[in-house]
Subunit: 448 residues, 2 copies
C-alpha cells in the first residue's frame, strides 16, 4: 500500500548505496509496478538503470510503460543494445511512437528499422500524425467487427484476433470501407444471446478524429466515461482506438502543463526530484525575466508620480497592499476562467458573457474591500486618505477581475494556451494598472 | 463532434427562448450525452429542468450521471416526485450515495426509504464511509469469483450475475472470507481455455483501502493504468470496486480544487456559467480579505522605513518590482512542489531535500536577475543604488524560492492541503519579506 512507500524508497536507496543487489532484487520483488516506478523516479540516471536491470522480466515492460516519457529515452541509454532492441519490440505501438519523439533521431531510426515488419506497420500510422494530435496517442492494435456477424461469431472472432490487441473491451463495428457504424463491448458479446445480430446489440459510437487536439479528445473520453473511443481519419475510417487509461494520462500531463504555466514556469519534463537544479532554473528563468522586465513598467509609472510621493510619503506605504490586492483579484478570475475553458464549460465565444460576469464580481469584491479599506485608512490617516484607498480598491478590483477573466478567453480566441496568461503575468499587469488608478485618484482627491 | 458544440448550444438556447419544444427534442436527439451535459450546464435551473424532461428516456439516466454533482440535487427540485423516485432507484449506488450528500437531509431520507430493499442494501455500505474516503466512491455492484472455479465456469457465473454489475471487466477473486486473492479480467475468461483453473490465470490484485483518501486511491488506479481496483475493508475483505472512469473523475475534481486554491479561491461547486455572481463572490471574498489583511503587514513594514523613503524617494519606485519578483519566484516554487506532492513524486519526508534544491534554484535565479538589476539600476541611478537592487534581488529570490518550496511540504506534513499555501498567499508573504530585505540593504549601503 501507499503508506509504506517512504520506507520502501528509503530501503531501496540504502541498498543502492551499499550495492547490495540481492537486497534490491528482494525489495523490488515485494512491490507492485506503481511503487517501483515512483521509486525509480527518485533515483539518478545511473542508479535507475541498475534498478531497472534487476527487475523481474514480467515487471520490466510494465514498469517501462508507466515511466515518465522524459525518463524512458534516458533509461535506454543505460541499457545494452540487445536489451533496448527487445524492449522496443515489446512496447505497445503508441508507447513506441512516443519514445521515438524522445530519442535522438539516429537512434530512433535504427530502432525502427530493427523492428519486425508487423510491429513497424502498427507504429508507422501513429507517427504520421502531428505531435499534439490524438492520432499520436492512439492504439493501432484493435479488433474490429462486421455488423452482419452474430454475437456468437463476433465473440469467436475476438478470441482469435484479440490476443495482440490493446483492449478488447470496446470493439468498433465497421462497414466494408472501415467506416464506424457502431461500437460493442466485450460485455455485450458475453452477456447477449449468441444468435442475435451484432447490429442489434451495438450502440452509437462516440468517435474522436485523429487530428483532434489530444487534450480535447482525451477529455471527451474521460468526461463521457467511455472505456475507449474509436479514432477515425478524415474519411471517417477507423485508424485506431483511444483507451480511457491513455486518455487519463494525457489529461494528467495537460494538467501538469497548465499548473506549471499558471505558476509562470514551463512544465518540467521529468519528475521534480530527478530534474537537475539547472533544469529547474531553465524552466523558470525565462518567465521570471519577462515578468521582471514588464515590472519595469511599474518603476516608470511610479517615476511619473514621484512628486506626489515626495509631497505625501504616506502614499508609498499602500503601494504593495494595492498592487497585491489587484494581483490577487486578477489571478482569482484568471484561474477560474482558465479552468472553465479547459473543462469546456465556456468557449471563446463567451468572452462578453464572462467579462460581464467578472465586472459584477469584481465590483462587488471591490465594494466590500473598499468599504473596509476606507474605514481603516480613515482611522489611521484621515478621511481624505480613506477616500483615496476606498475608491482605488473599488476601481482596481473591478478592472483586475475583468482583465483576469477576459485574458484567458482572448488567448483561447487566438488559439494560444489560456494558461500563458499566468497568474504572475496578470499580477504584473494589474500592478501597473492599479498604480495609475491609485495616483490619479490621489492627485484628484488630495489636490496634489 | 466538439466543433459544432457552440452552434448546438446557441440553437438550443434560441429554441428555449421560443419555447419551441419540438425543435428542442430534435436538437437533443441529434447529440450525444456529453454534448447534452455541456449544454445543460450552461442554462439556468428552470431551463435545465425543461431540457431534462424532454430527453429521450434512454438518454436521461446517462445525462444525469454525467452531470456535475452540484447540479443534480437542484435538478431533482425541478422534477415531479415520481420522476425523482424512479431516477433515484435507477442510479448506480455510488452516484446515489453522492447525491445523498447533496440533498437536504429530509429529502434524502425519504428517497432512501422509498428505495427497493436490494438497492438500499447496495447503497448503505457506501454511506458508511466518511466523506473524502474512496469507500464513498466505490461501486458495490460487482461480481466476485472463487479461485477453485475453472475459466469456463467463471464465465458462466459472470453471465448469470453480471447484468447488474457496474463493470465485469475486472473481477476480484476471493477466498471464502471474501478476502481478495487475485483479480482476473473478462478478457482472460474469454481468451483462456475454459478448463484452466482460475487460480492459474488470475493476477496479483492491486487493491485500495476503503478508508484511503479518495484522491490518493484514484491516482493509484489511473497511474497504474488499471481498469479497476478492488476496494477492501480493514480486514482485507472486498467491499466494492473502483473503476478507472470514476477514478479519473475524482482526479478531475481534485485538480479543480487544487487549481482554485492555487488561485486563492474556493472551488465552485458547479460550472462557471451557472454559478450566480454572488456564488463566485463568496468563493473568492474570504481569501481576498485574508490576503488584504495580511497585506496590512506591508503597510507596517513600509511605515517603519518611512524616513528612508522621505530621504530617498527613488527607493519607493522599485517597491512593486521587488515585491513582484519575490512573489513570482515564490509562486513558481510553490506550484512545482504542490504538483509534485499531488503526483506522489515527493513525500512530506523530503522537506529538507526540496528546501535545499530550492535554495540553489533561488540563488541561481537571484544571481541572474540581480546582475541584470544591478546593471540597469546603476545606469539609471548610480552604482550605490545598483548595488542595493542587485543584492536585494539575490537575497529575495533565494528566500522566496525556499519558502515557496517548503510551505506546501510543511502543509502536507501537518496533513493540510498543500494548495492552501496558494500562489497569492506566498506572494503576500514574500512581499513583506522582500520589503524588509530591501530597506535593510538600502539603509546599510546608502548609509541612511
Amino acid at each position: 500500500m501507499d503508506d509504506d512507500f517512504p520506507q520502501f524508497s528509503a530501503a531501496l536507496s540504502d541498498a543502492l548505496k551499499d550495492r547490495d543487489l540481492a537486497r534490491i532484487s528482494e525489495l523490488l520483488g515485494d512491490h507492485d509496478a506503481g511503487d517501483i516506478v515512483r521509486a525509480l523516479e527518485r533515483e539518478d540516471a545511473a542508479d535507475r538503470a541498475v534498478l531497472y536491470r534487476l527487475l523481474r522480466r514480467e515487471h520490466a515492460l510494465e514498469v517501462f510503460e508507466l515511466l515518465e516519457p522524459g525518463l524512458r529515452a534516458e533509461l535506454f541509454a543505460g541499457l545494452r543494445d540487445e536489451e533496448v532492441a527487445r524492449l522496443f519490440e515489446q512496447l505497445d505501438p503508441d508507447d513506441r511512437a512516443q519514445l521515438v519523439d524522445e530519442l535522438p533521431a539516429g537512434v530512433a531510426k535504427d530502432l525502427m528499422s530493427g523492428l519486425s515488419a508487423s510491429e513497424r506497420e502498427l507504429t508507422a500510422p501513429i507517427l504520421g500524425y502531428p505531435r499534439g494530435a490524438i492520432g499520436r496517442h492512439m492504439s493501432t492494435e484493435f479488433v474490429r467487427l462486421q455488423p452482419q456477424l452474430t454475437v456468437g461469431d463476433a465473440l469467436t472472432h475476438v478470441q482469435l484476433r484479440g490476443p495482440g490487441a490493446e483492449t478488447v473491451y470496446m470493439l468498433p463495428v465497421t462497414d466494408p470501407e472501415r467506416r464506424v457504424v457502431g461500437v460493442v463491448g466485450l460485455r455485450e458479446l458475453v452477456m447477449e444471446p449468441g444468435d442475435l445480430g451484432l447490429a442489434e446489440v451495438m450502440t452509437e459510437a462516440q468517435v474522436v478524429r485523429a487530428v483532434d487536439p489530444a487534450e480535447q479528445a482525451a477529455r471527451r473520453v474521460v468526461d463521457g466515461q467511455l472505456l475507449a473511443a474509436p479514432v477515425v481519419d478524415s474519411e471517417d475510417r477507423v485508424v485506431g482506438i483511444l483507451t480511457i487509461d491513455d486518455a487519463a494520462r494525457i489529461l494528467e500531463d495537460a494538467e501538469d502543463e497548465d499548473a506549471a504555466r499558471q505558476g509562470a514556469s514551463e512544465p518540467l519534463r521529468r519528475p521534480y526530484l530527478t530534474t537537475p537544479v539547472f533544469g529547474i532554473v531553465r524552466a523558470r528563468v525565462v518567465w521570471l525575466l519577462v515578468l521582471a522586465v514588464s515590472a519595469l513598467l511599474t518603476v516608470q509609472v511610479l517615476g511619473i508620480f514621484e512628486d506626489a510621493i515626495e509631497q505625501v510619503v504616506t502614499l508609498a506605504l499602500f503601494v504593495p497592499l494595492l498592487t497585491g490586492t489587484a494581483g490577487n483579484t486578477g489571478s482569482q478570475a484568471a484561474t477560474t476562467v482558465t479552468r472553465a475553458l479547459a473543462l469546456g464549460e465556456v468557449t471563446s465565444r463567451d468572452v462578453l458573457v464572462v467579462a460581464w460576469r467578472e465586472v459584477r464580481v469584481g465590483a462587488t469584491l471591490g465594494a466590500l474591500l473598499g468599504a473596509l479599506g476606507f474605514v481603516l485608512a480613515t482611522l489611521a490617516f484621515g478621511i481624505d486618505f480613506g477616500g483615496v484607498i476606498g475608491i482605488t480598491l473599488v476601481v482596481v478590483c473591478t478592472i483586475a477581475a475583468t482583465v483576469g477573466g477576459a485574458m484567458p478567453m482572448l488567448a483561447r480566441a487566438v488559439r494560444a494556451d489560456p494558461a500563458v496568461f499566468s497568474t504572475p503575468f496578470i499580477s504584473t499587469f494589474c500592478d501597473a494598472t492599479s498604480l495609475v488608478v491609485y495616483f490619479v485618484v490621489a492627485t484628484w482627491l488630495l489636490g496634489l
